[in-house]
Amino acid sequence: MKNIRETTFKSLTYVSALFTIIFLFGIIGSLFLEGLPLIKLVTFKTFILNPSWHPTSYPADFGILSLIAGSLIVTMGALILAIPLGIGSAIYISEIAGNKTREIIKPIIELLAGIPSVVYGLFGMAFLSPFLIRVFGIPTGLNAFSASIILGIMVVPIISSMSEDALSTVPRQLREASLALGATRWETIMRVVLPAAKSGVIGSVVLGFGRAIGETMVVIMVAGGAAQIPTSIFQPVRPMTAAVAAEMGETVFGSPHFHALYAIAIVLFIITFATNLITEVVFFRKGDLK
Protein backbone atom coordinates (compact mmCIF):
# COMPACT_ATOMS: atom_id res chain seq x y z
CA MET A 1 0.00 0.00 0.00
CA LYS A 2 2.67 2.38 1.08
CA ASN A 3 4.66 1.42 -1.96
CA ILE A 4 1.82 2.33 -4.33
CA ARG A 5 1.41 5.71 -2.70
CA GLU A 6 5.11 6.34 -3.00
CA THR A 7 5.14 5.52 -6.71
CA THR A 8 1.97 7.53 -7.40
CA PHE A 9 3.39 10.55 -5.70
CA LYS A 10 6.69 10.16 -7.47
CA SER A 11 5.11 9.87 -10.89
CA LEU A 12 2.77 12.80 -10.20
CA THR A 13 5.65 15.13 -9.43
CA TYR A 14 7.53 13.71 -12.39
CA VAL A 15 4.63 14.52 -14.71
CA SER A 16 4.36 18.08 -13.38
CA ALA A 17 8.06 18.62 -13.96
CA LEU A 18 7.67 17.17 -17.43
CA PHE A 19 4.83 19.58 -18.22
CA THR A 20 6.98 22.64 -17.49
CA ILE A 21 9.53 21.36 -19.95
CA ILE A 22 6.84 20.62 -22.54
CA PHE A 23 5.45 24.14 -22.19
CA LEU A 24 8.92 25.66 -22.51
CA PHE A 25 9.71 23.72 -25.66
CA GLY A 26 6.24 24.41 -27.03
CA ILE A 27 6.82 28.13 -26.66
CA ILE A 28 10.30 27.97 -28.16
CA GLY A 29 9.00 25.85 -31.02
CA SER A 30 6.15 28.20 -31.92
CA LEU A 31 8.44 31.24 -31.68
CA PHE A 32 10.87 29.79 -34.18
CA LEU A 33 8.14 28.34 -36.39
CA GLU A 34 6.56 31.79 -36.87
CA GLY A 35 9.73 33.87 -36.70
CA LEU A 36 12.12 32.03 -38.99
CA PRO A 37 10.13 32.51 -42.25
CA LEU A 38 11.30 36.14 -42.11
CA ILE A 39 14.73 34.93 -43.27
CA LYS A 40 13.23 34.52 -46.75
CA LEU A 41 12.63 38.28 -46.94
CA VAL A 42 15.35 39.85 -44.82
CA THR A 43 18.81 38.53 -44.06
CA PHE A 44 19.67 38.02 -40.42
CA LYS A 45 22.33 40.70 -40.64
CA THR A 46 20.00 43.39 -42.04
CA PHE A 47 17.34 42.43 -39.50
CA ILE A 48 19.72 42.99 -36.58
CA LEU A 49 21.86 45.85 -37.94
CA ASN A 50 19.44 48.02 -39.90
CA PRO A 51 18.09 50.82 -37.67
CA SER A 52 15.05 51.50 -39.87
CA TRP A 53 11.77 49.98 -38.60
CA HIS A 54 8.93 50.83 -41.01
CA PRO A 55 6.97 47.59 -41.07
CA THR A 56 3.90 48.91 -42.91
CA SER A 57 5.46 51.39 -45.31
CA TYR A 58 5.87 50.46 -48.92
CA PRO A 59 8.53 49.12 -49.35
CA ALA A 60 8.70 47.94 -45.76
CA ASP A 61 11.85 48.07 -43.64
CA PHE A 62 12.39 45.38 -41.03
CA GLY A 63 15.49 46.53 -39.14
CA ILE A 64 15.39 46.26 -35.38
CA LEU A 65 18.67 47.86 -34.31
CA SER A 66 16.79 50.89 -33.00
CA LEU A 67 14.38 48.62 -31.10
CA ILE A 68 17.29 46.70 -29.55
CA ALA A 69 18.93 50.00 -28.65
CA GLY A 70 15.67 51.14 -27.07
CA SER A 71 15.39 47.99 -24.95
CA LEU A 72 19.01 48.12 -23.83
CA ILE A 73 19.13 51.80 -22.90
CA VAL A 74 15.91 51.55 -20.90
CA THR A 75 17.04 48.36 -19.14
CA MET A 76 20.51 49.71 -18.34
CA GLY A 77 18.99 52.92 -17.01
CA ALA A 78 16.64 50.91 -14.81
CA LEU A 79 19.48 48.79 -13.41
CA ILE A 80 21.69 51.83 -12.73
CA LEU A 81 18.89 53.10 -10.52
CA ALA A 82 17.76 49.78 -9.08
CA ILE A 83 21.05 48.05 -8.21
CA PRO A 84 22.30 50.56 -5.61
CA LEU A 85 18.81 51.09 -4.21
CA GLY A 86 17.97 47.39 -4.15
CA ILE A 87 21.22 46.11 -2.69
CA GLY A 88 21.42 49.09 -0.35
CA SER A 89 17.99 48.42 1.10
CA ALA A 90 18.78 44.69 1.29
CA ILE A 91 21.91 45.43 3.35
CA TYR A 92 19.97 47.79 5.58
CA ILE A 93 17.16 45.32 6.20
CA SER A 94 19.39 42.30 6.71
CA GLU A 95 22.39 43.77 8.51
CA ILE A 96 21.59 47.10 10.08
CA ALA A 97 17.89 47.54 10.84
CA GLY A 98 16.49 46.39 14.15
CA ASN A 99 13.82 43.73 14.25
CA LYS A 100 10.96 46.20 14.45
CA THR A 101 12.11 48.42 11.59
CA ARG A 102 12.73 45.33 9.48
CA GLU A 103 9.21 44.09 10.04
CA ILE A 104 7.82 47.40 8.79
CA ILE A 105 10.16 48.03 5.84
CA LYS A 106 10.24 44.54 4.35
CA PRO A 107 6.52 44.24 3.58
CA ILE A 108 6.46 47.79 2.26
CA ILE A 109 9.18 47.02 -0.29
CA GLU A 110 7.45 43.78 -1.22
CA LEU A 111 4.21 45.71 -1.68
CA LEU A 112 6.00 47.69 -4.39
CA ALA A 113 6.41 44.42 -6.31
CA GLY A 114 2.68 43.75 -6.16
CA ILE A 115 1.61 46.95 -7.91
CA PRO A 116 0.38 46.13 -11.45
CA SER A 117 2.64 47.51 -14.16
CA VAL A 118 -0.21 49.47 -15.77
CA VAL A 119 -0.44 51.51 -12.56
CA TYR A 120 3.26 52.30 -12.81
CA GLY A 121 2.65 53.30 -16.42
CA LEU A 122 -0.16 55.68 -15.46
CA PHE A 123 2.04 57.19 -12.78
CA GLY A 124 4.74 57.74 -15.41
CA MET A 125 2.35 59.30 -17.92
CA ALA A 126 0.37 61.50 -15.58
CA PHE A 127 2.95 62.55 -13.02
CA LEU A 128 6.58 61.82 -13.90
CA SER A 129 6.47 62.90 -17.54
CA PRO A 130 4.99 66.42 -16.99
CA PHE A 131 7.32 66.80 -14.01
CA LEU A 132 10.40 66.06 -16.16
CA ILE A 133 9.30 68.57 -18.79
CA ARG A 134 9.06 71.28 -16.13
CA VAL A 135 12.34 70.40 -14.42
CA PHE A 136 14.58 69.77 -17.43
CA GLY A 137 12.79 71.84 -20.09
CA ILE A 138 12.97 68.89 -22.50
CA PRO A 139 10.66 68.72 -25.55
CA THR A 140 8.93 65.52 -24.39
CA GLY A 141 8.44 63.73 -21.10
CA LEU A 142 7.82 60.33 -22.69
CA ASN A 143 11.39 59.16 -23.21
CA ALA A 144 14.09 56.64 -22.28
CA PHE A 145 14.87 58.48 -19.06
CA SER A 146 11.35 58.41 -17.64
CA ALA A 147 10.88 54.77 -18.68
CA SER A 148 14.18 53.91 -16.94
CA ILE A 149 13.06 55.55 -13.73
CA ILE A 150 9.73 53.72 -13.66
CA LEU A 151 11.32 50.38 -14.57
CA GLY A 152 14.00 50.99 -11.96
CA ILE A 153 11.37 51.46 -9.26
CA MET A 154 9.72 48.23 -10.40
CA VAL A 155 12.98 46.28 -10.24
CA VAL A 156 14.04 47.53 -6.78
CA PRO A 157 11.82 45.09 -4.82
CA ILE A 158 13.08 42.12 -6.87
CA ILE A 159 16.73 42.92 -6.25
CA SER A 160 16.06 43.95 -2.66
CA SER A 161 14.10 40.94 -1.48
CA MET A 162 16.25 38.35 -3.27
CA SER A 163 19.51 39.95 -2.10
CA GLU A 164 18.12 40.19 1.39
CA ASP A 165 17.34 36.46 1.35
CA ALA A 166 20.88 35.75 0.20
CA LEU A 167 22.43 38.02 2.85
CA SER A 168 20.40 36.52 5.67
CA THR A 169 21.51 32.99 4.80
CA VAL A 170 25.15 33.96 5.39
CA PRO A 171 26.10 32.12 8.63
CA ARG A 172 26.34 34.27 11.74
CA GLN A 173 29.76 32.84 12.57
CA LEU A 174 31.28 34.61 9.57
CA ARG A 175 30.12 38.00 10.83
CA GLU A 176 31.19 37.22 14.38
CA ALA A 177 34.61 36.07 13.26
CA SER A 178 35.10 39.20 11.20
CA LEU A 179 34.05 41.51 14.00
CA ALA A 180 36.20 39.55 16.48
CA LEU A 181 39.20 40.13 14.24
CA GLY A 182 38.66 43.86 14.67
CA ALA A 183 36.87 44.67 11.41
CA THR A 184 34.29 47.44 11.56
CA ARG A 185 30.67 46.77 10.71
CA TRP A 186 31.15 48.40 7.29
CA GLU A 187 34.19 46.26 6.55
CA THR A 188 32.33 43.16 7.68
CA ILE A 189 29.42 43.85 5.37
CA MET A 190 31.52 44.81 2.35
CA ARG A 191 34.36 42.29 2.67
CA VAL A 192 32.69 39.30 4.31
CA VAL A 193 28.91 39.21 4.12
CA LEU A 194 28.41 40.56 0.58
CA PRO A 195 31.07 38.32 -1.01
CA ALA A 196 29.63 35.30 0.79
CA ALA A 197 26.18 36.11 -0.59
CA LYS A 198 27.57 36.98 -4.03
CA SER A 199 25.75 34.38 -6.09
CA GLY A 200 22.37 35.28 -4.63
CA VAL A 201 22.96 39.00 -5.08
CA ILE A 202 24.07 38.58 -8.70
CA GLY A 203 21.12 36.28 -9.29
CA SER A 204 18.80 39.02 -8.08
CA VAL A 205 20.36 41.51 -10.51
CA VAL A 206 19.95 39.08 -13.40
CA LEU A 207 16.33 38.52 -12.45
CA GLY A 208 15.88 42.29 -12.32
CA PHE A 209 17.46 42.58 -15.77
CA GLY A 210 15.02 40.00 -17.11
CA ARG A 211 12.09 41.81 -15.54
CA ALA A 212 13.17 45.17 -16.97
CA ILE A 213 13.90 43.99 -20.51
CA GLY A 214 10.69 41.97 -20.64
CA GLU A 215 8.41 44.62 -19.19
CA THR A 216 5.89 45.76 -21.78
CA MET A 217 3.05 47.90 -20.43
CA VAL A 218 5.28 50.53 -18.86
CA VAL A 219 7.42 51.04 -21.95
CA ILE A 220 4.36 51.24 -24.22
CA MET A 221 2.94 53.97 -22.00
CA VAL A 222 6.06 55.89 -21.00
CA ALA A 223 8.95 55.31 -23.45
CA GLY A 224 7.38 57.37 -26.26
CA GLY A 225 7.49 54.74 -28.99
CA ALA A 226 9.88 56.38 -31.46
CA ALA A 227 11.84 53.76 -33.43
CA GLN A 228 15.19 55.55 -33.37
CA ILE A 229 18.64 55.04 -31.91
CA PRO A 230 18.62 57.68 -29.19
CA THR A 231 21.47 60.17 -29.02
CA SER A 232 20.40 61.30 -25.56
CA ILE A 233 18.52 59.64 -22.72
CA PHE A 234 15.84 62.32 -23.04
CA GLN A 235 14.71 61.06 -26.43
CA PRO A 236 11.74 58.74 -26.95
CA VAL A 237 12.57 55.11 -27.74
CA ARG A 238 10.67 52.02 -28.84
CA PRO A 239 11.81 48.94 -26.93
CA MET A 240 11.30 45.52 -28.55
CA THR A 241 8.49 44.50 -26.21
CA ALA A 242 6.56 47.68 -26.97
CA ALA A 243 6.86 47.11 -30.72
CA VAL A 244 5.66 43.51 -30.45
CA ALA A 245 2.74 44.32 -28.16
CA ALA A 246 1.60 47.46 -29.94
CA GLU A 247 1.79 45.96 -33.42
CA MET A 248 0.95 42.27 -32.98
CA GLY A 249 -2.78 42.80 -32.54
CA GLU A 250 -3.19 44.57 -35.82
CA THR A 251 -1.03 42.65 -38.21
CA VAL A 252 -2.37 40.15 -40.72
CA PHE A 253 -1.58 36.52 -39.87
CA GLY A 254 1.27 35.19 -41.94
CA SER A 255 2.32 38.58 -43.31
CA PRO A 256 6.01 39.63 -43.30
CA HIS A 257 5.23 42.06 -40.46
CA PHE A 258 3.73 39.19 -38.44
CA HIS A 259 6.86 37.05 -38.91
CA ALA A 260 9.07 40.05 -38.10
CA LEU A 261 7.32 40.53 -34.76
CA TYR A 262 7.89 36.86 -33.93
CA ALA A 263 11.52 37.28 -34.94
CA ILE A 264 11.78 40.16 -32.44
CA ALA A 265 10.36 37.82 -29.82
CA ILE A 266 13.10 35.31 -30.70
CA VAL A 267 15.75 37.99 -30.18
CA LEU A 268 14.22 38.88 -26.81
CA PHE A 269 14.12 35.23 -25.86
CA ILE A 270 17.76 34.70 -26.84
CA ILE A 271 18.87 37.75 -24.84
CA THR A 272 17.17 36.60 -21.62
CA PHE A 273 18.19 32.98 -22.19
CA ALA A 274 21.83 33.95 -22.70
CA THR A 275 21.87 36.14 -19.60
CA ASN A 276 20.44 33.35 -17.47
CA LEU A 277 22.84 30.82 -18.92
CA ILE A 278 25.89 33.02 -18.34
CA THR A 279 24.97 33.63 -14.72
CA GLU A 280 24.21 29.97 -14.17
CA VAL A 281 27.53 28.84 -15.63
CA VAL A 282 29.86 31.62 -14.49
CA PHE A 283 28.64 32.71 -11.10
CA PHE A 284 26.57 29.97 -9.55
CA ARG A 285 29.09 27.23 -10.27
CA LYS A 286 31.80 29.21 -8.46
CA GLY A 287 29.47 30.10 -5.61
CA ASP A 288 28.64 26.44 -5.04
CA LEU A 289 32.24 25.38 -4.87
CA LYS A 290 33.05 27.79 -2.09
Binding site: Y58, M125, I133, P139, G141, A226, E247, V252
Partner: protein
Protein backbone atom coordinates in the same frame (compact mmCIF):
# COMPACT_ATOMS: atom_id res chain seq x y z
CA UNK B 1 -29.14 20.79 0.24
CA UNK B 2 -30.23 19.07 -2.94
CA UNK B 3 -32.82 21.77 -3.47
CA UNK B 4 -30.21 24.49 -3.21
CA UNK B 5 -28.04 22.79 -5.76
CA UNK B 6 -30.86 22.37 -8.25
CA UNK B 7 -31.88 25.98 -7.70
CA UNK B 8 -28.31 27.05 -8.30
CA UNK B 9 -28.21 24.98 -11.48
CA UNK B 10 -31.42 26.58 -12.66
CA UNK B 11 -29.99 30.05 -12.12
CA UNK B 12 -26.76 29.12 -13.90
CA UNK B 13 -28.59 27.57 -16.84
CA UNK B 14 -30.97 30.47 -17.31
CA UNK B 15 -27.96 32.77 -17.28
CA UNK B 16 -26.72 31.26 -20.51
CA UNK B 17 -30.12 31.02 -22.15
CA UNK B 18 -29.92 30.87 -25.96
CA UNK B 19 -31.74 34.14 -26.61
CA UNK B 20 -28.77 36.29 -25.47
CA UNK B 21 -27.54 38.16 -28.55
CA UNK B 22 -23.79 38.53 -28.33
CA UNK B 23 -22.23 41.13 -30.60
CA UNK B 24 -18.44 41.51 -30.53
CA UNK B 25 -17.06 44.73 -31.93
CA UNK B 26 -13.42 45.79 -32.30
CA UNK B 27 -11.28 48.23 -34.25
CA UNK B 28 -10.56 51.93 -34.58
CA UNK B 29 -10.19 53.92 -31.39
CA UNK B 30 -11.54 56.93 -33.33
CA UNK B 31 -14.89 55.21 -33.83
CA UNK B 32 -14.82 53.66 -30.34
CA UNK B 33 -16.58 56.48 -28.42
CA UNK B 34 -19.45 56.51 -30.92
CA UNK B 35 -19.97 52.76 -30.80
CA UNK B 36 -19.70 52.60 -27.02
CA UNK B 37 -22.43 55.21 -26.66
CA UNK B 38 -24.54 53.48 -29.32
CA UNK B 39 -24.09 50.11 -27.59
CA UNK B 40 -25.18 51.50 -24.21
CA UNK B 41 -28.30 53.06 -25.69
CA UNK B 42 -29.09 49.92 -27.68
CA UNK B 43 -28.64 47.59 -24.70
CA UNK B 44 -30.97 49.77 -22.63
CA UNK B 45 -33.68 49.16 -25.19
CA UNK B 46 -32.72 45.52 -25.87
CA UNK B 47 -31.91 43.79 -22.56
CA UNK B 48 -31.14 40.54 -24.38
CA UNK B 49 -28.28 42.11 -26.34
CA UNK B 50 -24.75 41.78 -24.98
CA UNK B 51 -22.44 44.04 -26.95
CA UNK B 52 -18.72 44.18 -26.24
CA UNK B 53 -16.64 46.93 -27.81
CA UNK B 54 -12.85 46.91 -27.98
CA UNK B 55 -10.26 49.18 -29.59
CA UNK B 56 -7.10 47.99 -31.29
CA UNK B 57 -7.00 50.10 -34.43
CA UNK B 58 -8.78 50.02 -37.78
CA UNK B 59 -6.63 47.24 -39.12
CA UNK B 60 -7.47 45.06 -36.13
CA UNK B 61 -11.16 45.65 -36.84
CA UNK B 62 -10.92 44.71 -40.50
CA UNK B 63 -8.50 41.81 -39.98
CA UNK B 64 -10.68 40.36 -37.23
CA UNK B 65 -13.87 40.55 -39.27
CA UNK B 66 -12.12 38.81 -42.16
CA UNK B 67 -10.81 36.14 -39.77
CA UNK B 68 -14.32 35.79 -38.34
CA UNK B 69 -13.33 36.43 -34.73
CA UNK B 70 -15.77 39.33 -34.22
CA UNK B 71 -19.20 40.38 -35.50
CA UNK B 72 -18.55 44.00 -36.45
CA UNK B 73 -15.28 45.72 -37.29
CA UNK B 74 -15.07 49.47 -36.85
CA UNK B 75 -12.65 51.46 -38.99
CA UNK B 76 -11.74 55.05 -39.74
CA UNK B 77 -10.71 54.17 -43.28
CA UNK B 78 -12.34 52.13 -46.06
CA UNK B 79 -11.43 48.47 -46.63
CA UNK B 80 -8.40 48.39 -48.93
CA UNK B 81 -8.21 46.33 -52.11
CA UNK B 82 -5.60 44.08 -50.46
CA UNK B 83 -8.04 43.36 -47.66
CA UNK B 84 -10.86 42.74 -50.14
CA UNK B 85 -8.68 40.18 -51.91
CA UNK B 86 -7.85 38.59 -48.56
CA UNK B 87 -11.58 38.36 -47.74
CA UNK B 88 -12.29 36.84 -51.14
CA UNK B 89 -9.55 34.26 -50.56
CA UNK B 90 -11.24 33.31 -47.28
CA UNK B 91 -14.56 33.13 -49.10
CA UNK B 92 -16.29 35.87 -47.13
CA UNK B 93 -18.09 38.95 -48.43
CA UNK B 94 -17.72 42.19 -46.50
CA UNK B 95 -20.40 44.85 -46.11
CA UNK B 96 -19.22 48.36 -45.31
CA UNK B 97 -21.57 50.99 -43.87
CA UNK B 98 -20.66 54.66 -43.40
CA UNK B 99 -21.88 55.51 -39.90
CA UNK B 100 -20.43 59.01 -39.41
CA UNK B 101 -17.81 61.46 -40.59
CA UNK B 102 -14.80 62.75 -38.78
CA UNK B 103 -11.99 65.19 -39.26
CA UNK B 104 -8.46 64.24 -38.25
CA UNK B 105 -7.73 67.34 -36.23
CA UNK B 106 -4.16 68.58 -35.97
CA UNK B 107 -3.64 69.65 -32.37
CA UNK B 108 -0.99 71.46 -30.33
CA UNK B 109 -0.59 72.52 -26.70
CA UNK B 110 -3.17 75.12 -25.68
CA UNK B 111 -0.50 77.80 -25.08
CA UNK B 112 1.08 77.43 -28.52
CA UNK B 113 0.53 80.74 -30.41
CA UNK B 114 0.58 79.10 -33.86
CA UNK B 115 -2.92 78.99 -35.36
CA UNK B 116 -2.55 77.75 -38.90
CA UNK B 117 -0.30 75.44 -40.89
CA UNK B 118 -0.31 74.65 -44.57
CA UNK B 119 -0.44 71.03 -45.67
CA UNK B 120 3.15 71.43 -46.93
CA UNK B 121 4.37 72.72 -43.55
CA UNK B 122 2.55 69.87 -41.81
CA UNK B 123 4.29 67.38 -44.08
CA UNK B 124 7.70 68.93 -43.39
CA UNK B 125 7.10 68.81 -39.63
CA UNK B 126 6.13 65.12 -39.65
CA UNK B 127 8.97 64.29 -42.05
CA UNK B 128 11.42 65.93 -39.64
CA UNK B 129 12.46 68.77 -41.96
CA UNK B 130 11.02 71.49 -39.73
CA UNK B 131 12.08 70.96 -36.13
CA UNK B 132 11.43 74.28 -34.39
CA UNK B 133 8.20 76.24 -33.99
CA UNK B 134 10.17 79.36 -35.00
CA UNK B 135 10.25 78.01 -38.57
CA UNK B 136 6.46 78.21 -38.83
CA UNK B 137 6.01 81.55 -37.08
CA UNK B 138 5.93 80.37 -33.48
CA UNK B 139 8.25 80.75 -30.49
CA UNK B 140 11.79 79.29 -30.29
CA UNK B 141 10.78 75.82 -29.09
CA UNK B 142 11.61 72.35 -30.35
CA UNK B 143 8.73 70.56 -32.06
CA UNK B 144 7.83 67.25 -30.42
CA UNK B 145 6.15 65.21 -33.16
CA UNK B 146 3.54 62.75 -31.91
CA UNK B 147 2.24 60.18 -34.35
CA UNK B 148 0.17 57.05 -33.89
CA UNK B 149 1.01 53.38 -34.05
CA UNK B 150 0.94 51.85 -37.51
CA UNK B 151 -2.40 50.15 -36.81
CA UNK B 152 -4.24 53.41 -36.37
CA UNK B 153 -6.77 54.45 -39.02
CA UNK B 154 -6.09 58.08 -38.13
CA UNK B 155 -2.44 57.42 -39.00
CA UNK B 156 -3.38 55.95 -42.35
CA UNK B 157 -5.67 58.83 -43.31
CA UNK B 158 -3.08 61.30 -42.05
CA UNK B 159 -0.30 59.62 -43.98
CA UNK B 160 -2.41 59.44 -47.17
CA UNK B 161 -3.39 63.09 -47.14
CA UNK B 162 -0.45 64.78 -45.44
CA UNK B 163 2.57 62.57 -45.87
CA UNK B 164 1.85 61.29 -49.35
CA UNK B 165 4.44 58.46 -49.30
CA UNK B 166 6.93 60.50 -47.24
CA UNK B 167 7.87 58.59 -44.08
CA UNK B 168 7.23 59.88 -40.59
CA UNK B 169 10.56 60.89 -39.04
CA UNK B 170 12.08 58.17 -36.83
CA UNK B 171 12.24 60.44 -33.83
CA UNK B 172 8.45 60.90 -33.82
CA UNK B 173 6.75 59.39 -30.80
CA UNK B 174 4.24 56.72 -31.71
CA UNK B 175 1.47 56.43 -29.16
CA UNK B 176 -1.13 53.68 -29.03
CA UNK B 177 -4.41 55.63 -28.79
CA UNK B 178 -6.20 58.96 -29.26
CA UNK B 179 -6.31 59.34 -25.49
CA UNK B 180 -2.58 58.83 -25.12
CA UNK B 181 -2.01 61.57 -27.71
CA UNK B 182 -4.43 63.94 -25.94
CA UNK B 183 -2.80 63.46 -22.55
CA UNK B 184 0.75 63.76 -23.89
CA UNK B 185 -0.04 66.98 -25.77
CA UNK B 186 -1.89 68.51 -22.82
CA UNK B 187 1.35 68.74 -20.81
CA UNK B 188 3.96 68.98 -23.58
CA UNK B 189 4.34 72.64 -24.67
CA UNK B 190 6.12 71.89 -27.97
CA UNK B 191 4.01 68.94 -29.06
CA UNK B 192 2.03 68.48 -32.27
CA UNK B 193 -0.21 65.51 -32.99
CA UNK B 194 -3.53 64.51 -34.52
CA UNK B 195 -6.75 63.13 -33.03
CA UNK B 196 -10.38 62.52 -34.00
CA UNK B 197 -12.79 65.46 -33.81
CA UNK B 198 -14.48 63.94 -30.74
CA UNK B 199 -11.26 64.12 -28.73
CA UNK B 200 -10.85 67.90 -28.89
CA UNK B 201 -10.99 69.53 -25.45
CA UNK B 202 -9.87 72.66 -23.65
CA UNK B 203 -6.36 71.32 -22.98
CA UNK B 204 -5.62 71.21 -26.70
CA UNK B 205 -5.72 73.69 -29.49
CA UNK B 206 -6.83 72.58 -32.93
CA UNK B 207 -4.97 74.20 -35.82
CA UNK B 208 -6.57 75.27 -39.04
CA UNK B 209 -5.02 73.58 -42.06
CA UNK B 210 -4.76 75.78 -45.14
CA UNK B 211 -7.02 78.20 -43.23
CA UNK B 212 -9.76 75.65 -42.69
CA UNK B 213 -10.64 74.75 -39.09
CA UNK B 214 -11.71 71.17 -38.32
CA UNK B 215 -15.41 71.38 -37.46
CA UNK B 216 -18.73 69.84 -38.30
CA UNK B 217 -19.42 72.48 -40.95
CA UNK B 218 -15.98 72.33 -42.62
CA UNK B 219 -16.32 68.55 -42.82
CA UNK B 220 -19.79 68.87 -44.31
CA UNK B 221 -18.80 71.31 -47.04
CA UNK B 222 -15.59 69.32 -47.68
CA UNK B 223 -13.37 72.38 -47.18
CA UNK B 224 -11.31 70.67 -44.44
CA UNK B 225 -8.58 68.62 -46.11
CA UNK B 226 -8.32 65.90 -43.44
CA UNK B 227 -11.98 64.81 -43.32
CA UNK B 228 -12.85 61.16 -43.61
CA UNK B 229 -15.80 58.80 -43.23
CA UNK B 230 -16.04 56.25 -40.39
CA UNK B 231 -17.20 52.73 -41.08
CA UNK B 232 -18.79 49.65 -39.60
CA UNK B 233 -17.80 46.52 -41.45
CA UNK B 234 -19.51 43.19 -41.17
CA UNK B 235 -20.01 39.99 -43.13
CA UNK B 236 -22.81 39.60 -45.68
CA UNK B 237 -23.71 36.49 -43.67
CA UNK B 238 -23.97 38.33 -40.33
CA UNK B 239 -26.55 37.45 -37.68
CA UNK B 240 -29.93 39.26 -37.55
CA UNK B 241 -28.91 40.78 -34.20
CA UNK B 242 -25.79 42.30 -35.74
CA UNK B 243 -27.78 43.69 -38.64
CA UNK B 244 -30.35 45.15 -36.25
CA UNK B 245 -27.64 46.94 -34.26
CA UNK B 246 -26.11 48.47 -37.40
CA UNK B 247 -29.59 49.60 -38.52
CA UNK B 248 -29.98 51.25 -35.12
CA UNK B 249 -26.69 53.14 -35.53
CA UNK B 250 -27.83 54.37 -38.95
CA UNK B 251 -31.29 55.35 -37.68
CA UNK B 252 -32.21 58.90 -36.67
CA UNK B 253 -31.74 58.21 -32.96
CA UNK B 254 -28.44 56.46 -33.63
CA UNK B 255 -27.20 59.44 -35.60
CA UNK B 256 -28.20 61.78 -32.76
CA UNK B 257 -25.72 59.88 -30.59
CA UNK B 258 -23.05 60.44 -33.27
CA UNK B 259 -23.64 64.19 -33.06
CA UNK B 260 -23.63 64.11 -29.25
CA UNK B 261 -20.19 62.44 -29.32
CA UNK B 262 -18.83 65.38 -31.35
CA UNK B 263 -18.73 63.67 -34.74
CA UNK B 264 -20.59 64.53 -37.92
CA UNK B 265 -23.78 62.50 -38.59
CA UNK B 266 -23.96 60.82 -41.95
CA UNK B 267 -27.28 62.25 -43.19
CA UNK B 268 -25.85 65.73 -43.04
CA UNK B 269 -23.28 64.86 -45.70
CA UNK B 270 -25.14 65.60 -48.87
CA UNK B 271 -22.84 65.11 -51.82
Amino acid sequence: MKKTISLLLLVLLSGCAPHTERIDIAGSTTVLPIVQAEAEEYMNAHPAAAISVRGGGSQVGITSIINGTIDIGIASRPVTSVEKTLAAEKGVKLIQATIAHDAVSVVVHKNNPVNNLSLAQLQSIFAGKLTNWMQVGGPDMAIAVISRDVSSGSFEVFSDVVLDSVRVVNSAMRLPSNNAVVSAISYTPGAIGYVGLGYLNSYLKALSIDDSMPSVSSVQDASYPLARPLFMITLASCSPATREFIDFVLSASGQQIVARQGYVPREEMQQ
